[in-house]
Assembly symmetry: C2
Homo-oligomer: 312 residues x 2
């Protein structure tokens, strides 16, 4: 006789997810993976399946059968938190799946600015050989805006390479991380004033909208700025003014206020901008890491306790 803990759990995978997630989930024991091809199919499958793995949300997904959502994204702004709470539906995030690749991406963008790789690539496309003096990061100060799991990984690597790190955090009380000084979000400008390099790893939403604006760029002065969080956190027109009329030495951008970046954006061709098309989080190890979280939470789902990254 099989124990009930071994009964396969029906898990619905929304058709939109990062590459590698499907393969990794298929290898999980003890689940029956349902893979609809569109939103309607997801709604139908959730008629009797209790688990949804998803990146996007539609209110029709909140069926009576739904008991647990494993988000494929780290951010959870898209979910109706209150409604889930009222209905007793668990929500777990993918926090941690992005830290190594995003931290490496931050330095890819930053070093492309400080070592003149970005401008050299623009000139290589025109076969121009023009040596330029690069700079050194060692000994400089980095401000990490948003010292969460990813921000700490950025801070850790910066510190290992001889930089000093300060930063901001929504709830700085009791902070124990790699930054030597931490400010609440209201201290963003003060953190920028201490820095040679500002790295934004902020989530989206109303509370962070244009948090990095004119005052922050003025405070940073003759330094570099990198954004791998959300485009909405930066006032793009203030950024362009800092690049063109101000002292900002360069901007490394993976995210933008409008994505894909509109064809008429001056950021495309700006000599002091290095940009990538929202790829900081992409990695072949995304799926395997998400699946480790999912597998731990599958056990928690069966036992009713021991959740990882539980939001609701």
């Amino acid at each position: 006789m099989r124990s009930s803990a071994a009964e396969p759990v029906r898990v619905v995978l929304h058709p939109r997810y990062p590459r590698g997630v499907e393969e990794a989930l298929r290898a999980v024991d003890g689940i029956e993976l349902v893979e609809p091809s569109d939103d309607d199919g997801v709604v139908e499958a959730l008629g009797d399946a209790p688990v949804l793995v998803t990146f996007v949300w539609d209110d029709r997904f909140l069926t009576p059968a739904l008991r647990w959502i494993q988000s494929v994204s780290v951010g959870v702004e898209q979910y109706p938190i209150e409604a889930l709470r009222e209905r007793g539906v668990a929500l777990t995030s993918a926090r941690g799946v992005n830290a190594p690749q995003v931290a490496e991406h931050v330095f890819a963008l930053l070093l492309a600015l400080t070592r003149a790789v970005g401008i050299s690539m623009r000139e290589a496309e025109r076969r121009i050989w023009r040596p330029r003096m690069g700079e050194e990061l060692e000994g400089r100060v980095m401000a990490v805006l948003g010292l969460g799991t990813i921000g700490e990984e950025v801070a850790r690597r910066a510190q290992l390479w001889g930089m000093e790190v300060v930063g901001t955090k929504a709830r700085p009380k009791g902070y124990r991380g790699h930054a030597v000084r931490v400010f609440p979000p209201e201290g963003t400008v003060e953190a920028c004033r201490l820095a040679d390099v500002v790295v934004a790893v902020l989530p989206g939403g109303d509370s962070t909208r244009h948090l990095v604006g004119r005052e922050a760029f003025d405070a940073l002065g003759r330094g570099w700025f990198v954004n791998v969080g959300r485009g909405s956190t930066v006032d793009t027109s203030a950024l362009l003014d800092a690049l063109d009329g101000g002292e900002l030495r360069g901007a490394g951008l993976d995210v933008f206020e409008d994505e894909p970046l509109p064809a008429d954006s001056p950021l495309w061709s700006h000599p002091r901008v290095v940009l990538t098309p929202h790829i900081a989080g992409l990695s072949p190890l995304y799926g395997p890491r998400l699946t480790r979280i999912f597998t731990a939470n599958l056990e928690a789902f069966r036992r009713g306790r021991g959740w990882t990254n539980r939001v609701v």
Copy 2:
């Protein structure tokens, strides 16, 4: 009465040197800095000055008055070592002045490959938004070809970021550095076989010519290659074959067999190549670091012992 140790020493600065060296040397106490505008002026000044600070060599510089050459370069292939030894002329190199900036440049080139910054910049010039999956360095193996002062700094940073390092060294006996396994130059192919990333930091000269050739690229296989040493150490046609017909995932190049890179080179526009125009060693801290070596050696010159980086 002034002691003889306090007599100003006449020091000739060759007109070709990296930016920042002149300003830094001018601030050194106890020397009279002579700054000719061409090679003839250097020869004339060395009629009675005993010290030459230089990047380039001309046999006419070997005057009877010359007692000490402080090289502005790390490599010393350009000097007539035997002739200097016979004439009792001291030669000191600039070893150490390049380590931080070249190490950061290595990672700038490497991360531009692994995080798709290079190809994204080529596409940005054409306003193309095309997300690509990047890779992670953490957990991978790097082979550093040439574990000298710079190579060790590359190895140290790689290790701090969770990579395992192997490498080659001209004289591996008694090695105590950051690599877990070290081979002599004859083990280059074996080191490449162990690696996901090969970083060449080799000096030029006959003994290293085309050391990185077809066999090395075959051994590396599906990995990345970075060269910040000398262009002559790489067989460019084997490199191109590995990029086009082989498995090589990308090449980050700061040095080339012909410099400036000829206009008809396919490397300029290759989608899997990231390149910079021989700038890895450039840094505003080059002058100050060289001056620290020079100042220590000025004291050694006066006392006849205690040299730093002495080659002859």
